[in-house]
């Protein structure tokens, strides 16, 4: 067990180093940070001086090395754009993104699994076909369009829900601010969560359906039927639990994707999360924020992977003895 976690951590470090290396190799082509850091009156000499001071003239390897050594001490530098320590900036935005991801993830999971099971059990019913087709609409239109349409309908025309932002937030401790505790906070979550979750929901639904259909054909389900177990016990106790193993993986990876896809949703809904921060940083070539964000995403993926593996462990007893080493 310990070895397993250690392996994972080691692997993750390598993954993160590579992520950092690749991102650094790429940043230099994204644009020139200096042009947005200085006003139009700045002279060429001024620009050069700033460039020099920031070490942007150093060879890419040196920049990378500096970044890694500082990052190891938890120092990701100062945002070129917002002039605040990057770590603090990202941490202050993280709760918004995580809450959004969580809610949309839960929505996607609950509805995805629910519809997935339903459509698997009633494979030829008209309701199943309808659910299957309608859910596809969600993935057949780009996220930004869905977001804007929702705003238009629910915020402008019906005026039921807020069109932007997080509403009132409540600070919990130093590190967390939550929108769950206020009514405006909760109302503000609805549209972005739907926008973000729709795609994942469709995905999970289809996956659950496919896996469930597979599992329902297995011998042990046949044997369970032959023992006269109730349909409930068979569908939800035996079949669904076995379906969950692959579903957990995909959902886990999807959670990472949700956080990444939040970029679009956050932009559309002016949701103050890390995704919006990142996209603004790209526009401003705010290298420290971009680098830190990518590392964060890598960390989140690694953590999620780890959790997924541990969940596997909990769900599937077969893995408890022999699986330890094999990654997937």
């Amino acid at each position: 067990m310990l070895a397993f976690i250690l392996r994972r951590v080691l692997q993750s470090l390598v993954v993160m180093l590579v992520v950092a290396l690749v991102s650094f190799a790429l940043f230099r082509y994204v644009g020139d940070p200096i042009s947005t850091m200085m006003g139009q009156e700045a002279t060429i000499a001024d620009r050069e001086a700033l460039r020099e001071r920031l070490g942007l003239n150093d060879p890419f390897v040196v920049q990378f090395f500096n970044f890694v050594t500082r990052a190891m001490q938890g120092d990701f530098g100062i945002s070129y754009r917002l002039q605040q320590p990057v770590m603090e900036l990202i941490l202050s935005r993280l709760p918004a993104t995580l809450e959004l991801a969580l809610v949309s993830g839960v929505l996607a999971f609950v509805f995805g699994v629910g519809f997935g099971v339903y459509t698997a059990l009633n494979r030829r019913g008209w309701l199943s076909s309808t659910v299957m087709s309608v859910s596809l609409i969600g993935v057949s239109l780009p996220t930004f369009l869905i977001g804007v349409l929702l705003i238009w309908l629910f915020a402008v025309e019906l005026q039921w829900l807020p069109s932007f932002g997080r509403g009132e937030v409540v600070d919990i401790g130093d590190w967390w601010s939550t929108g769950f505790l206020t009514s405006t906070g909760r109302a503000s979550l609805i549209l972005p969560a739907i926008t973000l979750g729709l795609y994942q929901m469709t995905l999970i639904m289809r996956l659950v359906r496919a896996e469930m259909l597979e599992v329902l054909r297995t011998d042990y389900i046949k044997f369970a039927r032959a023992r006269g177990l109730s349909n409930r016990a068979i569908h939800f106790g035996h079949a669904l639990k076995n379906t969950m193993v692959p579903v957990i993986t995909i959902t886990g990876l999807q959670l990472g994707a949700i956080i990444a896809f939040a970029i679009i949703t956050e932009t559309v809904f002016q949701w103050p999360g890390v995704g919006a921060l990142f996209i603004n940083s790209v526009r401003f070539v705010d290298v420290p924020v971009m680098a830190a964000y990518l590392m964060l995403i890598a960390v989140i993926f690694v953590v999620i992977n780890l959790i997924v593996d541990l969940l596997y462990y909990a769900v599937d007893p077969r893995l408890r003895v022999d699986r330890a080493g094999t990654g997937h």
Binding site: V30, G31, D32, P33, I34, S35, T36, M37, M38, G39, Q40, E41, A42, T43, I44, A45, D46, R47, A49, L50, R53, L54, G55, R70, D75, G77, I78, Y80, R81, L82, Q83, Q84, P85, E88, L89, S92, V148, I151, W152, A155, V156, Q159, P162, S163, F164, G165, R166, T267, V268, F269, Q270, P272, A276, L277, N280, V282, R283, F284, V285
Partner: protein
């Protein structure tokens, strides 16, 4: 009755625009939205009225020293206090101006000619420049005054240094003399300001400001339509009509201090992206043809939805040196343009890249696209390279573009600002944005001379001379001056500010 009512009731304004102030440190970013917010918390020596004229703020009087034409004298307002209660003195002003000139300040470009700032007494400040600087005062409208004691106590005596690796205290905290105090600041999310009771001026009607940036245009408009915000800046031009028609919403218009124009490399031997071996832009006939090909009215009508002022000169009307004759533009004449192209030896046209930003000016990409269509009619095949601002501007600064769109505002309200950056040959501090590679020694000499000319009439004559030359040489292809539109709830009055720096302190309620 009405007056007392307005003053008594607490009025909150929820205000949205596209982006947030990047920092509260008043000297570390020379950028519009940052200054706009700073104007609510900090003050400058002189301000800018909505008609573009200078107004007294912390300085009540100013002028060139009668004995020394290189010294500007400012008399400070009595009874001004910072939000922490301390009184404003000349020391604070000296400190602030020096801070703004500092190595890490982004405002230093505006104070490049300053040699020394001194305080002869506690209410007077002297600013000495290298030579006579008759227009220097115009540079001060965005240079904010901080409390020396506060800054030093909080280790913020210099503007934020990016390379330092640490955050400056002044980035998220503020202690100004302005009409509002900072209550809450969550960058890019929400900034809350409260009226400062100790402010020297009349108490503003707006007592609380909640400022929320909303990046997406559609969302911004939606927020106003759904009543979630009261004032929206940066209204997309296409939505203005709809907003005007909406009950309980009105839109205020006004000209902005920014000209949108195209410029082309007319100085190089050969273009970087063209399919011909020479430089067609160096040919005056080609430049003339391009002018004739452009239909500015169509751009105004369709692209800008009527929300622009087409112009024939690269400066807005507020600017010293502007005249109606310069502003006039010729009607499009494609036939003539085609003839000129043939005359110039480009009967078959040529192809060239056009660089345009797509997230900087109102409909910047669409304007460029429209130009592509217009030029294609006279045989110039334009490849449009549309990119984000952080990619676009370096192309101009590094001279890697042949043909580009640029918007230029004139914060000093004087033509020299345009000449210095866009026209003068690239030398030292001048000509940094001269992507046209225009180089005319006579013009250069005039520009240098007008910088120190204290006789305003003579100076104005020089300005007119330069403009005449520029127009004749067709150095720029001006399109229009941007206009601004602020949309707001009915009952709110907020005049449009030419620098797009509205002050909520100016808001009145019906």
């Amino acid at each position: 009755l009405g007056l007392s009512l307005a003053a008594a009731s607490a009025e909150t304004i929820r205000w949205a625009r596209v982006g947030d102030a990047l920092t509260l440190d008043p000297h570390s970013q020379n950028e519009g939205p940052t200054h706009t917010l700073a104007h609510h918390i900090y003050e400058t020596l002189v301000g800018r009225a909505t008609d573009g004229s200078l107004t007294p703020r912390l300085a009540t009087e100013w002028g060139i020293h009668p004995d020394d034409s290189t010294v500007w004298v400012f008399k400070l307002r009595e009874g001004v206090t910072f939000h922490d209660g301390s009184a404003l003195t000349a020391d604070d002003v000296v400190f602030s101006l020096n801070r703004a000139r500092g190595e890490t300040s982004d405002m230093k470009g505006l104070h490049a000619g300053v040699v020394e700032v001194t305080a002869p007494d506690s209410m007077t400040v002297h600013i000495k420049t290298e030579g006579p600087a008759p227009l220097y005062v115009q540079n001060l409208t965005n240079t904010f005054i901080m409390s020396k004691a506060w800054a030093e106590a909080n280790d913020a005596a210099e503007a934020q240094d990016f390379a330092a690796g640490e955050e400056n205290f002044a980035v998220r905290n503020a202690n100004g003399t302005g009409p509002y105090t900072l209550v809450e600041r969550d960058p890019e999310v929400r900034t809350v300001l409260q009226a400062y009771e100790g402010h020297w001026d009349d108490a503003p009607e707006v007592t609380e400001i909640i400022y929320t940036p909303i990046a997406e245009a559609a969302t911004r408009v939606a927020a106003l339509l759904s009543g979630e915000v009261d004032i929206v800046q940066d209204v997309p031009v296409q939505d203005i009509a709809r907003l005007e028609q909406t009950d309980a919403i009105k839109v205020e218009f006004g000209p902005e201090n920014r000209t949108i124009f195209f410029a082309y490399d007319m100085g190089s031997e050969k273009l970087q992206s063209a399919n011909v071996d020479d430089n067609p832009f160096a040919n005056p006939l080609v430049r003339e043809a391009m002018h004739l090909a452009v239909d500015r009215d169509a751009i105004r009508q369709v692209v800008m939805r009527g929300q622009s002022l087409p112009t024939g000169v690269t400066m807005p009307p507020f600017v010293n040196g502007w005249t109606e004759e310069l502003d006039a533009y010729s009607a499009p004449d494609v036939e003539r343009a085609v003839e000129l192209m043939a005359e110039a030896g480009y009967a078959d046209g040529f192809s060239v890249d056009l660089h345009t930003p797509n997230d900087r000016y109102l409909n910047d990409e669409a304007i460029s696209q429209a130009l592509v269509g217009m030029l294609s009619r006279i045989g110039i095949k334009v490849n449009l390279v549309s990119q984000t601002r952080s990619m676009h501007f370096p192309e101009i600064q590094n001279r890697t573009t042949d043909f580009y769109l640029l918007g230029w505002g004139v914060p000093t309200f004087d033509s020299q600002y345009v000449f210095d950056f866009l026209v003068h040959s690239t030398e030292g501090a001048r000509g940094g944005w001269n992507g046209s590679r225009y180089s005319n020694p006579e013009v250069d000499a005039l520009i240098q001379a007008m910088a120190t000319e204290t006789d305003l009439d003579a100076r104005n004559e020089m300005i007119a001379q330069v403009w005449a030359q520029l127009q004749e040489d067709r150095v720029f292809l001006p399109i229009h001056n941007q206009t601004l539109a602020y949309a707001m709830r009915d009952g709110i009055n907020l005049p449009v500010h030419p620098e797009n720096q509205p002050s909520m302190a100016d808001v009145t309620f019906d």
